[in-house]
């Protein structure tokens, strides 16, 4: 495989975690890119921010809780994790999350960060 370490990939999450499989599908991509040592950033906007909420428990509704796998991001060197402050506010959500290293960004900062990436997948 040809490596180009300059090529940055962003995964933009826009769906809530359980009713839709988009979050899991995006996670699978993130982990593969991580395991191939591709620099990858995660963005959470809109209902996607619900994927970061503390104290969720999918097992209550028979979901294998893929959110727990988020703890592995560090192992995969996925260290750039950004959440949209405005989306949090609109939903009355606090700025603490079930994983560390989440950076809360204003819309301008969020837009600027997204714009340094070469590829953006949105789920």
């Amino acid at each position: 495989m040809s490596h180009n370490l300059q090529k940055l990939t962003a995964i933009l999450n826009s769906k809530a975690p359980y009713s839709n499989s988009a979050g899991k599908d995006a996670l699978d991509i993130a982990l593969i890119f991580g395991s191939f040592e591709q620099p990858t950033s995660l963005f959470f906007q809109g209902d996607g921010v619900y994927q970061l909420t503390q104290a969720q428990n999918g097992s209550i509704i028979d979901v294998k809780d893929y959110l727990k796998t988020f703890a592995a991001f560090e192992f995969y060197d996925i260290e750039n994790i950004y959440v949209c402050q405005r989306s949090l506010k609109e939903r009355g959500l606090p700025s603490y999350f079930h994983i560390d290293q989440v950076q809360v960004l204003t819309t301008d900062e969020f837009a600027a960060k997204l714009a340094i990436h070469h590829t953006v997948f949105r789920f």
Partner: protein
């Protein structure tokens, strides 16, 4: 006893279909007569025998099979919707045997016979 019919339009890889299953199972266990479940739109994908769900994830189809056998629950598959999604009653190992191949006429029948029709 009141009669209930259910239409399921959500795919098996979404948790929405687990809710539908939970609802039907609860109805059956509480003594409601469920006269049939009709699978339409992406709901039909459940009937594909080749669907592979990781073993540590919720096995929706095994649960439906149990309900079908325990309560003699009719599971109707809309064949038109199924064919659009790659299911075929002409191929072996394709449509799970707990399903009855049906058309939309069956939905008319269910709507007529049921006291209440619910979509999931």
């Amino acid at each position: 006893m009141k009669k209930l019919a259910v239409v399921i339009t959500t795919p098996p890889y979404s948790n929405l279909s687990a809710t539908a299953l939970d609802y039907v199972e609860t109805a059956l266990n509480s003594g409601v007569e469920v006269i049939g479940v009709f699978f339409y739109q992406d709901g039909v994908i459940l009937a594909n025998q080749q669907v592979q769900i990781a073993s540590d994830e919720f096995q929706c189809i095994a649960h439906w099979e149990m309900l079908h056998q325990t309560f003699n629950l009719p599971l109707h598959l809309c064949i038109t919707a199924a064919e659009k999604r790659g299911l075929s009653d002409e191929q072996p190992n394709n449509i799970h045997s707990i399903f009855t191949i049906s058309g939309l006429g069956e939905l008319v029948e269910l709507a007529n016979k049921a006291d209440r029709m619910v979509q999931f």
